[in-house]
Amino acid sequence: MSTATHKLLKGATGDWEMVIGMEIHAQVTSNSKLFSGASTAFGGEPNSHVSLVDAAMPGMLPVINEECVRQAVRTGLGLNAKINLRSVFDRKNYFYPDSPQGYQISQYKSPVVGEGEVLVELDGGRSVTVGIERLHLEQDAGKMLHDQSPTMSYVDLNRSGVALMEIVSKPDIRDAEQAKAYVTKLRSILRYLGTCDGDMEKGSLRADVNVSVRKPGGPLGTRCEIKNMNSITFIGQAIEYEARRQIEILEDGGEIDQETRLYDPNKGETRSMRSKEEAHDYRYFPDPDLLPLEFSQSFVDELKADLPELPDQKKTRFVVDFGLSAYDASVLVAERESAVFYETVLDKLGNRARDGKMAANWVINELFGRLNKEGRDITGSPVNAEQLAAIIDLIGEGTISGKIAKDLFEIVWQEGGDPRALVESRGMKQVTDLSAIEKVVDDIIAANPDKAAQVKDKPQSLGWFVGQVMKASGGKANPQSVNDLLKSKLGI
């Protein structure tokens, strides 16, 4: 683990350090459920995606969906983790109507993926490595509907049996910022891999957060688990609240009860859900309906060979190939769609080596800036990658200036169209014809004899002349030519 500085919380007795570990439940992207052929489509009529197996009818048996296994292995590879060629499915026994079998099929002692790690970038170029303890496959539960009848609760089993990956981190996270960055990074990796859509609003990605506090470097404190967080912002808030709650108790001479808590975003606080004494005894044991999950190293190798480029690799490539700053590269690779957009721009560029970095600036500053302002995301951008590439080509080859390019970007944003054609039809071409620029330069100097006289003593006032010429040319004059001409005419 790298030693990025982290936030300590001030208490009456001095500083406190947070120790945080997370269990992320990521819904596996697959067409059918983990052990049945039922569809995993989101949003169907209640109980419309339920097979006999999902409803736990008598005599029904689970059959492993191999695609879900492949997805878990891909994810393990993406987390630089050990892939276990033999793993075991266990039954986790508990009664609840959203669990029709009366047990969840999960992996307890032998998970499909073992230890790995994730590099998490933080602000200011800092980073921290968070260890992965394990990843295992398990069934999701159904959904209780409590608002359909005044006297009864209903249950929708559409989600029951959908495959989840539970990704358990080591307690390597030290503050809320790191926790949020960890979830963000993990989500990004899953989305790059295509193994989970990462949609937290739909519940495709949920986190249980374990929080404890201690004096820096001291022994570990008792932890509380905050269940079922489905927003990165709330995760941050919940950790801050929970850590302060624990510090307050400890500083008052109390003890932390190991318990499960829920975060209430409206009140901004966590509250107890169940204590350790009320914790279930899940009576895990190997599921006798399923043989151990076994596959060969070549199965893993084939999946590895087909793995897409992941954010860390992509970032490195952007820095090395296009001279991007580490920061810019991180911004571009953070979301898979952004990276794809940028790379499509690169593909369309006339001269990638020359303009790759400029393209990054444009994507980050102009495009993202504008999208953010309008609350849109990249997939809804009015300017597509091909159009943006054309604008950058026009700048790179000197046809338009950067300033004109911004106007052109605005036109394309508002009206659409082929940037190259727009430059022609609207006369936006940069004037590189020296004689035309020379005339304007001469006119400006002639009209401002005082300033022309002063400029030898005050070379910084050259900028004023450049501005005047550019203004007179409607921004179309080539700024470098203007600069050169002014300097020779003014004798500096």
Binding site: A56, M57, G59, M60, F95, G102, S153, V155
Partner: protein, 491 residues
């Protein structure tokens, strides 16, 4: 015309093919027999309309010359098998009037091969029992009685309905399941033939689960040949059951009459129990002598971990059962007893829906899997299981082809005679059979003689994995030597 119900399946097949009689006639004869034998309580659901429709269809297929291997043969189906559109309860109140929308793989293969369903057969609730007394439909009567006695005896369990119906000539054969002896013990109690094939030989899909790692379907029939014919249709790989094995199903009937000369038959010394009735001892020796006379070689073998099998079985089976039966919660199907909240609904439903033996096993199973006890009970029982399996492997590695043992420690007993005060008294019935389930091996029970009171006794042959054929060959030798036994009709 002779009574069609007295034919063996093999004889009936001949008669059907020769058009001596039709499947409809054969089916009607059995439906009449069922009606006349309701006092036995073997059937919990009779399906005469469906039976006649299936018989007509079979007759049509036979007429066209494309009748399957079991075309027109009327069978009874243990109520543990899901039958599409026909109530399936596992003889538990908790399933209420549950009607599956699906057909178990095993029964669908029987229908594929032309068999006719007469109805559903009684069994111990969720197959938990050795006397068929735990059924919510009440006990089943054994067609056999002690000489000069009117006492109703149990047919054994859990496939008591299957064994009773086959012995009483109510069906030509029946499906059954065996988790610790539930095919072989009732077969022995009723002078029928029952085979539990190798674990993985028959699909468990659509069979109400008791203990998944031990449950296996098999037939109960009137002769060794009949059981071979039935197993051939029931067995086979099923992608819907990942524990079923993808090995081709041999023509088991071809093993009937095959020479057993030179086969090595193991006699395990650990099965010679203290206080074993002399007539069981005698039966066992007789069986060995018959096999020897047929050219087999007898060798004493040792299965040293046998004595741990029953205790270990009564940990593993309830553990799995406690989890398998969790789905009967009153939420989606079957019985529901309302409560003030969901916990009460569970408690009321399960208290009302499960009988005493099932509740006992659910509680034992929950206990042995719980935190702090898992290692001492469940894990240790699994280790014992591995040792038991190894005992058999060592034995087979020495060239032993099959092992001969008694099927049960006694003949059938009276209804209410056993297990009232001490459930272990009942569990001891499975002493010779559970090892086979723990090791996943095939085992066949064949009638071999009678005790002093005129009750049938059976012998068990245990085979190598997926070598059911040897069991049929050897079973046939015993059947030929011992003859077949039919109870005197009293019902």
């Amino acid at each position: 015309m002779t009574d069609l119900t007295s034919l063996t399946l093999a004889e009936a097949r001949k008669g059907l093919a020769a058009k001596t009689f039709t499947s409809l006639e054969l089916t009607d004869a059995h439906l009449n027999a069922i009606e006349a034998a309701r006092v036995l309580n073997a059937f919990v659901m009779e399906t005469p309309d469906q039976a006649r429709a299936m018989a007509r269809e079979a007759d049509a297929r036979i007429a066209k010359g494309d009748g399957g291997p079991l075309a027109g043969i009327p069978l009874g189906i243990k109520d543990l098998f899901a039958t599409k559109g026909v109530r399936t309860t596992a003889c538990s109140k908790i399933l209420g009037n549950f009607v599956p929308t699906y057909e178990s793989t095993v029964t669908s293969q029987l229908w594929r091969d032309g068999a006719v369903m007469l109805g559903k057969l009684n069994n111990d609730e969720f197959a938990m029992g050795s006397s068929n007394e735990t059924s919510c439909f009440g006990p089943v009567g054994n067609p056999w009685r002690r000489d000069g006695s009117n006492t109703t005896l149990v047919p054994g369990g859990s496939s008591g309905g299957s064994a009773s119906a086959v012995a009483a000539l109510l069906c030509m054969g029946a499906t059954a399941t065996d988790t610790g002896g539930s095919i072989r013990q009732p077969a022995a109690f009723t002078a029928t033939v029952g085979i539990k094939p190798t674990y993985g030989r028959c699909s468990r899909w659509g069979v109400v689960a008791f203990a998944s790692s031990l449950d296996q379907a098999g037939p109960i029939a009137r002769s060794v040949r009949d059981s071979a014919m039935l197993l051939r249709s029931m067995a086979g790989h099923d992608p819907k059951d990942t524990t079923s094995v993808d090995i081709a199903v041999p023509d088991y009937e071809a093993a009937i009459g095959k020479s057993v000369k030179g086969m090595k038959i193991g006699i395990p010394k650990e099965y010679r129990l203290d206080g074993m009735p002399a007539e069981i001892e005698k039966l066992w020796s007789e069986g060995a002598a018959w096999l020897k006379a047929a050219g087999a070689e007898l060798v004493e073998v040792s299965l040293p971990h046998t004595k741990y099998a029953l205790p270990a079985y009564y940990i593993v089976a309830p553990a799995e059962a406690s989890s398998n039966l969790a789905r009967y919660d009153g939420v989606r199907y079957g019985l529901r007893e309302q409560g003030k909240n969901i916990i009460e609904l569970y408690e009321n439903t399960r208290a009302e829906g499960f009988g005493a033996e099932v509740r006992r096993r659910v509680m034992i199973g929950t206990y042995v899997l719980s935190a702090g006890y898992y290692d001492a009970y469940y894990l240790r029982a699994q280790k014992v299981r591995t040792l038991i399996k190894k005992d058999f492997e060592d034995c087979f590695a020495k060239g032993v082809n099959a092992i001969l043992t008694p099927a049960t420690p006694s003949a059938a007993f009276g209804v209410g005679e056993k297990g009232g005060a001490d459930p272990v008294e009942m569990y001891l019935n499975d002493i010779f059979t559970v090892t086979v389930n723990m090791a996943g091996l095939p085992g066949i029970a064949v009638p071999a003689g009678k005790d002093a009171q005129g009750l049938p006794l059976g012998l068990q042959l245990i085979g190598r994995p997926f070598d059911e054929e040897t069991l049929f060959s050897l079973g046939e030798v015993i059947e030929q030597a011992a003859g077949r036994f039919t109870p005197a009709r009293w019902w």
